[in-house]
C-alpha cells in the first residue's frame, strides 16, 4: 500500500506537470503527449505479453524475439502479398507459434525458462537477419483513423483518438486484459495457476493446458505488437528493429506490478520522459548528445527497477515447472 501511494504520487505529479505545460502552451504539450502515447502503447502491449505469461507462472524473456520476428513477418508478408492485413494476420500467427514454442520448452520439457526465452531471442535474431533482404517496401501503413466527435476534444482528442486502428485495438487489448484477469473465471484460474499451481490442479483446473493457452495468446499479443511497430508506427523493418523494447517491457511489467493498468501507466511515464526530452532538445533548453537520446528509456528502466524491483512480489510460482503429484 505504501508503494501504491508513492506510485500514484508520481502519476499525479506527471499529470500536474502536463496540465501546467498545457496551460502555458496547449498545442506543443498536446503534441508531446500524443507522441508519448504512440511511444508508450507498443511498450505497454509488449508488457501485456509478459503479464499474461507470468500471471500463469511462465517467465517470458523472449518477448524481444517475439516482437522482432513478428515485426519482420508482418513487414515481409505485407510486402510480398501487397496486403497489410495478411501481414497482420501472419504476424499474429507467428507470434502465437513462438508462444507455443515457449510453452513446449517451459511446460512440457520443463526447461529453464530464462534459457528458453533466450533461445527464442537468439532464434529470432538469427532467422530475421538471415532472411532479411534490403530495399523492400510495403504498399502502405495502417492509416490514421480519427474517431469522429471524440477527436475534437481538446487535448484528449489528439492524444487518444487520432491514431491508427492497431493503436485502438491495442488499447482495447490492454483494458480487456485487465478486466479479464481480475473479474473473470479465466483470470481467477490463471492467477491461481501462477501463484500456487497445485491448488488449481486439485480444484480440477488443468495447469498445463491453461499455461499453454495463455502463453500462446500472449504470443499473439506479441505478434500484434510487432505488426503495430512495423505496419503502423514505423512502416519499415531493419535488422535489430525492435531495439530492446521487449526487455523494457519486462521492466514495465515489474514496475506496473504485473497489473495491465500499472504497466500501461509505467509505459506512459516512459513515453512522457522520452517525449519531453525530445521537446526540450528541440527547444534547445537542454543538450544531450544524440547517442544518449535513444538510451534514455534504458537508463530509466534501470533506475525504475532499482527503486521498485526488490519491493514488488512476482507471482509465486513464476519460473518453476509444475511437477504434478505424479512426477
Amino acid at each position: 500500500m505504501k508503494y501504491l501511494s508513492k506510485r500514484n504520487l508520481l502519476i499525479v505529479l506527471i499529470a500536474a506537470a502536463t496540465a501546467y505545460f498545457y496551460s502555458k502552451d496547449g498545442s506543443v504539450t498536446t503534441s508531446v503527449v500524443s507522441t508519448a502515447t504512440s511511444f508508450a502503447l507498443p511498450l505497454a502491449l509488449a508488457a501485456m505479453v509478459g503479464i499474461m505469461c507470468e500471471r500463469t507462472g511462465i517467465v517470458n524473456i523472449g518477448i524481444e524475439g517475439t516482437l522482432l520476428t513478428s515485426a519482420f513477418v508482418a513487414f515481409f508478408v505485407s510486402s510480398l502479398t501487397s496486403n497489410i492485413l495478411l501481414g497482420l494476420a501472419a504476424s499474429i500467427a507467428v507470434g502465437s507459434l513462438l508462444g507455443l514454442l515457449l510453452a513446449v520448452m517451459a511446460v512440457t520439457w520443463k526447461m529453464d525458462q530464462i534459457i528458453a526465452g533466450t533461445i527464442i531471442n537468439i532464434l529470432a535474431t538469427g532467422l530475421t537477419s538471415f532472411l532479411y533482404v534490403q530495399g523492400r517496401t510495403i504498399p502502405s501503413t495502417f492509416p490514421e483513423y480519427d474517431i469522429p466527435k471524440l477527436m475534437n476534444l481538446p487535448f484528449f482528442g489528439p492524444v487518444l483518438f487520432m491514431h491508427g486502428p492497431l493503436f485502438y485495438f491495442g488499447l482495447f487489448v490492454i483494458l480487456s486484459l485487465y478486466v479479464a484477469l481480475f473479474k473473470t473465471t479465466w483470470g481467477l484460474r490463471s492467477r491461481a495457476v501462477g501463484e500456487h499451481p497445485s491448488s488449481a490442479d486439485t480444484a480440477g483446473v488443468s495447469v498445463a493446458r491453461l499455461r499453454y493457452i495463455n502463453v500462446a495468446i500472449a504470443g499473439a499479443i506479441g505478434g500484434l505488437t510487432g505488426s503495430f511497430l512495423s505496419l503502423e508506427l514505423v512502416g519499415s523493418f531493419e535488422r535489430g528493429f525492435t531495439a530492446g523494447k521487449g526487455f523494457t517491457a519486462l521492466a514495465l511489467m515489474i514496475f506496473g506490478r504485473w497489473n495491465p493498468l500499472g504497466a500501461l501507466a509505467a509505459a506512459m511515464m516512459f513515453g512522457m520522459t522520452q517525449a519531453y526530452a525530445n521537446q526540450l532538445m528541440i527547444d534547445q533548453v537542454i543538450q544531450i548528445p544524440t547517442q544518449f537520446i535513444g538510451v534514455l528509456p534504458y537508463i530509466l528502466t534501470i533506475i525504475v527497477l532499482a527503486i521498485s524491483a526488490g519491493k514488488v512480489r512476482p507471482p509465486a510460482a513464476e519460473g518453476q515447472p509444475y511437477e504434478k503429484a505424479d512426477a
Binding site: D112, I119, I122, V295
Partner: protein
C-alpha cells in the same frame, strides 16, 4: 549441467552438441536450398577457409579468442546462478578502455605496456559487471534486464566517447587511433598469443571452480542460495564477485581483441561477440573447458563467413542462424532424450 561436476567425462553428454551441430547444419542447409544457394559448396567454403590452412586456422583462433573469453564469462555467471547477458557491453567497455591505454600511453616497453592495457580491459569490463551484480545483490534487480540495458547504454556511451573524445585526429570514421606497437599481442608460431591467454584463463577458471573454497562458494550460491547463506557464505558478496569476475573476463575478451586483432577501437568491430558467448556457454554445458571447442567452431564459422558469401552467395548471417539452431537443439531435450533421461534443472534464478 550439475552432473558433469564429479562424474568427469561422460560420452553421452559430449555427443549431444556434436549431433546438435549436425542437425542444425542440415536444417540451415535446407534453408539455403530454399534461397537458391548451394549448401554443399557453402559449407565447403566455410570450413576450408577456416580450418583448411595454417593461415586460415590462425585466423579462426583469432576469432575464437574473444569467444572463449565471452563464453567463459557467461559460464562463470551460470555457475553462480547468474545469467550474464551483458558480456557484450562488458566486452566493449574492455575493448575501448584497452584501446585508449594502447594508443594514449606512449614510451612504455612492451612487457609493461601490454599488461597495463590488458588490465584496463579487465577493470572496465569488471566494473560494468559490478554494476549489474550490485543491483542484483542489493536492489533485487534481475541481471538479465540490467545487463541487456547496460549493453545498449554502453554501446551509446562508447559511441559518444569515440566521437567526441577519443577519435583519431583528422579521421571521419568513428574510431580511435591505432595502438602503439608496444601494446600489440605477438604471434607465437603464427598463432595468436591472445588465444593462449584465453585458454589459460579457461583452465585456471576450471581449476578454481573445482579445487578452491572460492569455487565452492560460487557453486553453492548457484545451486542453493538458502543453504549457502545458512552455511555462512555471503550470498550478496558472492553474487557481486561473480558478476564482477564475469565482466572482467568479458572485458579481457575485448582487450585481447583490440590488442591482437583490430589494433584500435571501432564500435562495429566487436558486434555480437558477447552474444555469441551465451551460445558458447550453453553449448559447452557451462563447463569452463567445455566452451573451448564451441568457441573454435563458431570462431571458424565467423572467420569463413565472408569468403562463403563471396563464393556461394550465402549471407554471412547464416552463422547467426546456425548458432541459434545449435543452441536450441542443445538446450532443448530433443537430442538429449536419446542419451539421458534427465530433465534439465534450473540454472538461473527468478526475477
Amino acid at each position: 549441467m550439475s552432473d558433469t561436476k564429479k562424474k568427469g567425462f561422460d560420452l553421452g553428454n559430449w555427443m549431444i552438441p556434436i549431433i546438435a551441430v549436425a542437425i542444425a547444419m542440415f536444417i540451415a542447409g535446407i534453408m539455403m536450398k530454399l534461397q537458391g544457394a548451394d549448401p554443399i559448396s557453402a559449407y565447403k567454403t566455410l570450413f576450408t577457409t577456416s580450418f583448411g590452412s595454417v593461415a586460415g586456422f590462425s585466423a579462426t583462433l583469432g576469432k575464437a579468442t574473444p569467444l572463449v573469453l565471452s563464453g567463459l564469462a557467461v559460464t562463470i555467471g551460470l555457475r553462480a546462478g547468474l545469467f550474464n547477458i551483458g558480456a557484450q557491453g562488458q566486452l566493449i567497455s574492455g575493448a575501448l578502455a584497452t584501446a585508449w591505454a594502447g594508443y594514449a600511453l606512449t614510451g612504455l616497453p612492451a612487457f609493461i605496456h601490454l599488461p597495463i592495457a590488458l588490465a584496463f580491459g579487465i577493470f572496465f569490463g569488471g566494473f560494468v559487471g559490478y554494476i549489474a551484480g550490485a543491483l542484483k545483490a542489493y536492489r533485487g534487480v534481475h541481471e538479465v534486464i540490467t545487463t541487456i540495458m547496460l549493453n545498449s547504454i554502453i554501446m551509446a556511451l562508447s559511441d559518444y566517447l569515440v566521437v567526441y573524445h577519443f577519435r583519431e585526429p583528422g579521421q571521419l570514421l568513428t574510431r580511435t587511433s591505432e595502438i602503439q606497437k608496444s601494446a600489440r599481442l605477438p604471434f607465437i608460431f603464427s598463432l595468436p598469443l591472445g588465444f593462449f591467454i584465453a585458454i589459460a584463463c579457461a583452465v585456471l577458471a576450471w581449476w578454481i571452480m573445482t579445487n578452491t573454497t572460492s569455487g565452492f562458494r560460487f557453486e553453492t550460491v548457484g545451486r542453493n542460495k538458502f543453504a549457502a547463506w545458512y552455511a555462512g557464505i555471503s550470498v550478496k558478496r558472492t553474487l557481486v564477485m561473480a558478476m564482477m569476475i564475469s565482466g572482467g573476463i568479458a572485458g579481457l575478451g575485448g582487450a585481447v581483441e583490440t590488442l591482437g586483432v583490430t589494433y584500435r577501437f571501432e564500435p562495429a568491430f566487436n558486434a555480437g561477440l558477447g552474444f555469441d558467448g551465451i551460445t558458447i556457454a550453453l553449448l559447452g554445458r557451462a563447463h569452463p573447458l567445455g566452451i573451448i571447442p564451441g568457441a573454435i567452431l563458431i570462431g571458424g564459422m565467423r572467420a569463413g563467413a565472408s569468403n562463403m558469401q563471396f563464393v556461394a552467395g550465402v549471407a554471412t548471417e547464416l552463422v547467426d542462424l546456425l548458432m541459434a539452431l545449435i543452441l536450441f537443439l542443445v538446450t532443448a531435450p530433443l537430442v538429449t532424450r536419446f542419451f539421458k533421461n534427465t530433465t534439465s534443472k534450473s540454472v538461473t534464478g527468478g526475477w
